[in-house]
Amino acid sequence: MLMKRKDLSIILIIAFVIGVFPWLTGKNEYFISLLVFMGINAMITLGLSLLMGYAGQISLGHAAFFGLGAYSSGILTVQYGLSPVAGFVFGILLSAAVAYLVGIPTLRLKGHYMAVATLGFGEIVFILFNELSFLTGGPSGLSGIPALAVGDLPLEGTAYLYLVWGLVLLLLLFSLNLINSRVGRALRAVHGSELAAGAMGVDASLYKIQVFVLSAVYASMGGSLYAHFISFISPSSFSLMFSILLLMMVVVGGTETIWGAILGAAVLTLLPEYLRGLEDFEVLAYGAILMAVLLFMPKGILEGFQRLWARAQGGS
């Protein structure tokens, strides 16, 4: 929908909140890193939302692109001593290339077949992360990834928070522009009725591939930023469970709009923190939440709350 002013104000609000947050919490490292992770997840879900919510496709293997970004940054800086920028760019190029090659045959598939193919793809990449130990360090992971720095000044804590969310907001603007353009309409048309979209001259396969590659690039950027933030990565962060978690963020938050994805990323980044004490319950809780949302608020909590709000307004 064409709600430019509302979207811009939300962006400004987010920027403001992120801006003052470190000062409000006394530069508490724990809270800051929580928000950094939230930002990284938001980056990935932005791309997934474009793919799933707008274009109507599905990917159960997006952790793979996240991992490709992370390992590109990690390997190029640790094993080859290159600059983080090189790792960042290489990650993007690699993810884009892989997404393109995998996407062409996969996006032709319908519904369930596409879901399973992306699942299989994600698992294969996960196995590669584990087995190519000479490159990735195998199951024991890759450590010593340098923090990002501007000259001699390392970007940590608050500075990193601003960097991550700065990028998130830029990507948000880019994505919103995209949605409100002919490209966005073409994507939504493909989702709404692929038959009619074709009849109006929209090359569905082209747009599906483009948005798939774009979403892979977003995920890769998130991965690179993740690697430099925590300085140690291992394959377990890029498993099926994370792909499912990403999917949950989009579905729980709401597939209707980009904001749903951001909300979902925020909620599902905080959730594991609350479940920290109840480790045995973690997976169970995820399953229960996902099921509850799908059964009772299938369009996500954002839309669910909007509806409740509207009903409350209408009733009074």
């Binding site: 799933m52 109507g56 599905i58 159960l60 045959p105 996969t106 598939l109 319908k110 519904g111 369930h112 077949y113 879901a115 399973v116 193919a117 699942l119 299989g120 793809f121 698992e123 294969i124 196995i127 590669l128 584990n130 087995e131 099926l240 499912i244 999917l247 579905v251 597939t255 045995d280 319950f281 973690e282 997976v283 169970l284 809780a285 995820y286 399953g287 229960a288 996902l290 099921m291 799908l294 059964l295 299938p298």
Partner: protein, 297 residues
């Protein structure tokens, strides 16, 4: 061991693994034929079959046949509850929602298993305590024959059910055309429920018979589901015999791959086969173009 006996060893390992994939494929196919959806929680039925059997046989020390029966009942019940609470209410939902709900189910079952059994793998005693069989230089555990035998029995039973009994044919009618099925008096709701129950039962059997050989842990489900699905698609997602053949093919490829190339990549082999089938010919080797065109996916 000589090269030939190595090959025989791999072959039988492959057939054993393949039997499980065939049974998983069967489970997928049954639900798909009744509803047109792919049940991403299928692997969890197998996992639960193994772990529940461990509970009855190893913890409660019940005799095997009783334990097996109870295991099948329990897992079938889980399947039925899943269908009633999660699938049935969503029958009008969008495709993404349907895919997600079976995914949610798989996570829920996995979480439940992790909660009840923890993350460690569990073992089961073999069904019979006989000595390994020597065949052409290869040493084959007795349990292998249980797996193969029960698989053949299960497949024959399912095939008979779907092709010779009225109920079985009724289930198949439901996915092709639910409205027409309803109009001629088939209770589609019951058929869908039955398909889930049968899939869960078949999955439970698979889990119970393979655990003595490969152990079972809470998160075996996804890989089993993926490989079983590969077998289902390769076999044409419609013909029971196709699933079995395809399961064996994938199991054998995996076994030989693990033995001859590398065991770290063994899962990747089956997954690669899955991707190649989906990309090149989603109708499988024994399915038909027209048949798959009529189905939803």
């Amino acid at each position: 061991m000589t090269f030939a006996s190595q090959m025989i060893q791999y072959l039988f390992t492959g057939l054993t693994l393949g039997s499980i994939y065939a049974l998983v494929a069967l489970g997928f196919t049954m639900i798909y034929n009744a509803t047109g959806i792919i049940n991403l929680a299928q692997g969890e039925f197998v996992m639960l079959g193994g772990l529940v059997m461990v509970f009855f046989a190893a913890v409660l020390k019940m005799p095997l046949y009783l334990g097996l029966l109870l295991t099948i009942l329990v897992v079938t019940l889980v399947g039925v509850i899943f269908e009633r609470l999660a699938i049935h209410p969503l029958k009008e939902a969008s495709l993404i929602t349907l895919i997600m709900i079976t995914l949610a189910g798989s996570i829920l079952f996995r979480g439940g298993a992790m909660f009840l059994w923890g993350k460690d793998p569990y073992a089961l005693p073999a069904f019979t305590q006989s000595r390994p069989v020597q065949f052409l230089g290869a040493t084959l555990q007795a349990q292998i024959f249980w797996v193969l035998g029960i698989t053949v029995f299960a497949v024959a039973g399912v095939h008979f059910f779907f092709n010779r009994t009225l109920i079985g044919k009724a289930i198949t009618a439901c996915a092709f055309n639910p409205l027409a099925a309803r109009l001629i008096g088939i209770n589609v709701r019951k058929m869908v429920l039955l398909s889930f129950a049968l899939s869960a039962a078949v999955g439970a059997v698979a889990g119970a018979i393979i655990t003595p050989i490969t152990l079972m842990e809470y998160d075996r489900g996804p890989l089993l589901a993926l490989k079983g699905f590969a077998a289902a698609v390769l076999g044409g997602l419609g013909s029971g015999i196709g699933s079995v053949l395809a399961g064996f093919i994938i199991g054998i490829l995996e076994s030989f791959g693990a033995g001859l190339i590398s065991s770290g990549y063994k899962d990747a082999i089956a997954l690669l086969v899955l991707l190649i089938i989906l990309w090149v010919k989603p109708t499988g080797i024994l399915g038909s173009e027209e048949e798959s065109g009529l189905k939803k996916f």
